[in-house]
Amino acid sequence: MKRKLLIIGGVLLACIVCFGALWAVSRLCAPKYHDTLIDGHLTGEYYRETTDHDVLFIGDCEVFEHFSPVTLYNEYGITSYIRGGAQQLVWQSYYLLEDALLTETPKVVVYNVLALKYGEPQSEAYNRLNLDGMRWGSAKIGAIRASMTEGEDFMSYVFPLLRYHDRIASLTAEDFTYWFSDGDPVSFKGYVMHTGVDPATETPTETYEKKLPESSILWLERMAALCEAHGVSLVLIKSPSIYPLWHPEWDAEIAAFAKSHGLRYDNMIAENDAIGIDMQTDTYDQGQHLNVFGAEKLSRYFGAVLRDEFGLADHRGEAAYDADYAALTARYEIGKHE
């Protein structure tokens, strides 16, 4: 009998050692998104938050590079976070919102409508960037199933080693430094700062479909219903980049949608006189994305709008928030003057 126990013990030990080794190799091979492709780091950083947020921004790079939670707090005491991702598709935004609503209930959710022009899954690389960092749960499962392109396999999301094992031949220093630690955040509560300046000149034209894809509108409907169910006000915006183009027909379609659902819709390109963004100084890539100066201008403008329209509380003075945002502001200032 003793021999049998020894065997079972030995086998169990072998299995544990093997799975441990595979787990370690899996972590080593998975891309770290810390020094390169940092957009992949954003989804995971949300779970480090210690304070809740009255405003949640969700959308693609036109959101996580255009609004600065530091400015919103220091100017208006508005607590906010940006759950954005590279080319984050509408259903990914929906599921990220659903995931956030599990642990907090914001007053306002701001969604950038540009990604509505993509009706079906686009690229496996973007899927991995946006979804790998997500917390496991029904939201993540839903997001994966809705985003998978042809040839992708659900198991490779459950066991990242199945997807990234090839990388064992192309590891970089970054993979080893962040092997077992996630490293410090790459964003400021989801905001990715760019300090460069590259004035806008001329943007290409393109032929386009008059109507936004049917599937995107369906997902927008579901997002509106989700917000209503949680008593959250949904605000639709079109962030003020001048490229990719946001065509008039699309703008009218979203305006009609907002009207019929009683939602506020801001086309910030049209409202630019009030915002005051100058595409000669406030962009780092010829008008596609704002740099930190543009983002602060936009945050100052939109903070006032949100405070007045939705009566957001001014949390400045409350110890927990002050401590959190003070640390954030310190890091923010260093980044701004680098």
Partner: protein
């Protein structure tokens, strides 16, 4: 590669293998990768301006320096990645380039207005029947006509040509 002497009859096949080759190729020539991308294979789908003829996958630098100065440029940034495609704006058309295997190559030519014509005589704003008469082969291919490495896409709305663009043919292997 010297091979040992082999029993001729019994090893008929191997004997043939062993007799070595009379070198016809230069032994230290670097091998050109047949799958690599290179210009000049766009057949009749090229574009011409100021006497300069160019097409898909041509080297960008050569074409840009041959053409008169462009009006301005625009660098398209993808959301997360460093890969950049640059648009060069000219009078009536735009050239798009992308870096492929270390060299910038032309990956798109777009006709912007009716001030320029394609070698086959297509221009923005012409009627659909005139376009069909000018380039019947493209009409048959439902205005998505491929030739070599280039694909011509013509957008027609309410019987008028609205858009003309040359792009690389995406190989489906």
């Amino acid at each position: 590669m010297k091979r040992t002497a082999i029993l001729i009859l019994a090893l008929m096949l191997l004997a043939a293998l062993g007799c070595g080759a009379n070198g016809t190729d230069d032994p230290n020539a670097v091998f050109i990768d047949p799958n690599a991308v290179h210009g000049g294979e766009y057949g009749e789908l090229y574009f011409e301006s100021n006497g300069v003829r160019f097409g898909i996958y041509d080297e960008a630098e050569a074409v840009l320096s041959a053409l008169p100065a462009y009006r301005s440029t625009f660098t398209g940034k993808s959301c997360a990645f460093e890969s950049e495609d640059v648009s060069y704006f000219y009078a009536g058309f735009t050239i798009m380039t992308n870096e492929i295997d270390g060299t910038d190559r032309i990956t798109g030519i777009k006709i912007d207005d009716d001030t320029v014509k394609t070698p086959q005589g297509l221009y923005i704003g012409m009627s659909a029947e005139d376009a069909a008469a000018a380039f019947p082969a493209a009409k048959e291919a439902d205005w998505s006509y491929a030739d070599g490495t280039a694909l011509l896409s013509v957008t027609i709305a309410d019987d008028v040509v609205k858009g003309i663009v040359y792009t690389p043919v995406i190989p489906e292997d």
